[in-house]
């Protein structure tokens, strides 16, 4: 049993559990599913700096911070006790492309060639961590939601602005992956 749990979980199981978050949050407390707002609540709680956008009672949204805290804890538990000792199995064309760019370490979920402390103070590290992270935080708030708020909650409740946002997420990601990332990876 434990051995089966340690294997990578199939997409339909993960998708169903993530989808069930929508009714769970609505039924236990009238909350709409969304994660990027937690970043805003952190700003409102820690560094509001008298900015209108951060002047609200963040404690009313504390549920969201409990939720993301739970995500971090759950990920910790999964990595500690349920982790799969085998390397990540990549689609062959992806593996071949990444190997060409010098990325071959699939022993964990993130390639150590990029996501390690000694890469932080390189030009590539600066782009991957600081610029990339900034775009995620700025972009999701500007768009009014992320993959959870727009792509899952928004589409589930048939909101067309969320469909536009989701298409733009994909368009941005595809453009980066095909046009820019091939250069960034070899910096």
């Amino acid at each position: 049993m434990l051995e089966a749990i340690k294997q990578p979980w199939p997409w339909y199981l993960a998708g169903a559990l993530i989808g069930l978050t929508v009714p769970y949050l609505l039924l236990v407390g009238n909350k709409s599913f969304g994660i990027s707002s937690s970043l805003r609540h952190l700003c409102a709680a820690c560094i509001p700096a008298n900015i209108k956008f951060f002047k609200y009672d963040w404690k009313k949204e504390a549920w969201n911070l409990f939720f993301v805290g739970g995500i971090a804890l759950g990920a910790f538990l999964a990595a500690q006790f349920l982790s799969d000792p085998n390397p990540v199995v990549l689609a062959e064309p992806t593996a071949a492309y990444l190997a060409e760019k010098g990325i071959t370490d699939t022993s964990s979920l993130m390639p150590s060639e990029i996501f390690s402390w000694d890469q932080l103070f390189t030009l590539r590290g600066l782009i991957f961590f600081v610029v990339g992270g900034f775009m995620v935080g700025f972009g999701t708030r500007y768009a009014g939601g992320c993959t959870s708020g727009h792509a899952i909650m928004g589409l589930s409740s048939l909101q067309w602005p969320s469909l536009i946002a989701t298409c733009c997420f994909m368009a941005g990601g595809i453009a980066m992956t095909w046009l820019i990332l091939p250069y960034l990876l070899t910096l």
């Binding site: 995500i71 759950g74 062959e92 935080g137 990332l181």
Partner: protein, 172 residues
């Protein structure tokens, strides 16, 4: 039971709700006031969520590369299933006029269109492909022990803060 936490919002509280609703889809619509430990319901679901994120490798940078390169079905399957399950759930909740466990009517706020969904959406997409993470997986990557992601996370908080600072000057 249904009324034990009930309270009528004041004008100031309504103004506060308006502020929280700015550019956000997930706003606490509940007017009930609970002691803090009621939030453990959300932490518990978050724990399950974090386990799923790691075990289905949704937090993996590799899986995001595969998705954007159209070389694997995995992520499309995850997101597609989640949307279908969410869609059916919302439909059922609306049809049956289901109430929350505290007896409150369920309300799903409508999202208004603004140009931010295009500009912000594109920007987020660019960042998603680089970092391999949307905001949820950022928390999971840190929890799973990828320490350097703290830098990505702090940068994301900084990005949100700068957006708040510049909000009035940006096209919406």
């Amino acid at each position: 039971m249904a009324n034990s936490f009930q309270h009528t919002p004041t004008a100031q509280e309504l103004a506060d709700l308006k502020a929280r609703e700015l550019d956000a889809i997930c706003v606490n619509e509940s007017e009930l006031v609970h002691p803090w430990w009621h939030n453990l319901k959300y932490a518990a679901w978050g724990i399950l969520f974090g386990i799923v994120f790691v075990k289905a490798e949704i937090v993996s940078w590799f899986r995001i590369q595969e998705m954007f390169r159209f070389e694997s079905f995995h992520m499309y399957g995850v997101i597609g299933t989640a949307v279908v399950v969410g869609l059916i759930s919302v439909l059922l909740i609306k049809r049956t006029k289901a109430k929350t466990i505290y007896g409150e009517a369920i309300h799903i706020p409508n999202k208004e269109f603004n140009k931010g969904q295009i500009y912000g959406g594109l920007l987020f997409g660019l960042g998603w492909a680089i970092t391999g993470a949307c905001p949820g997986p950022l928390f999971a990557q840190m929890g799973a022990g990828f320490g350097v992601i703290i830098v990505t996370f702090v940068s994301a908080v900084a990005g949100t803060w700068v957006y708040g600072l510049l909000r009035d000057k940006l096209p919406h």
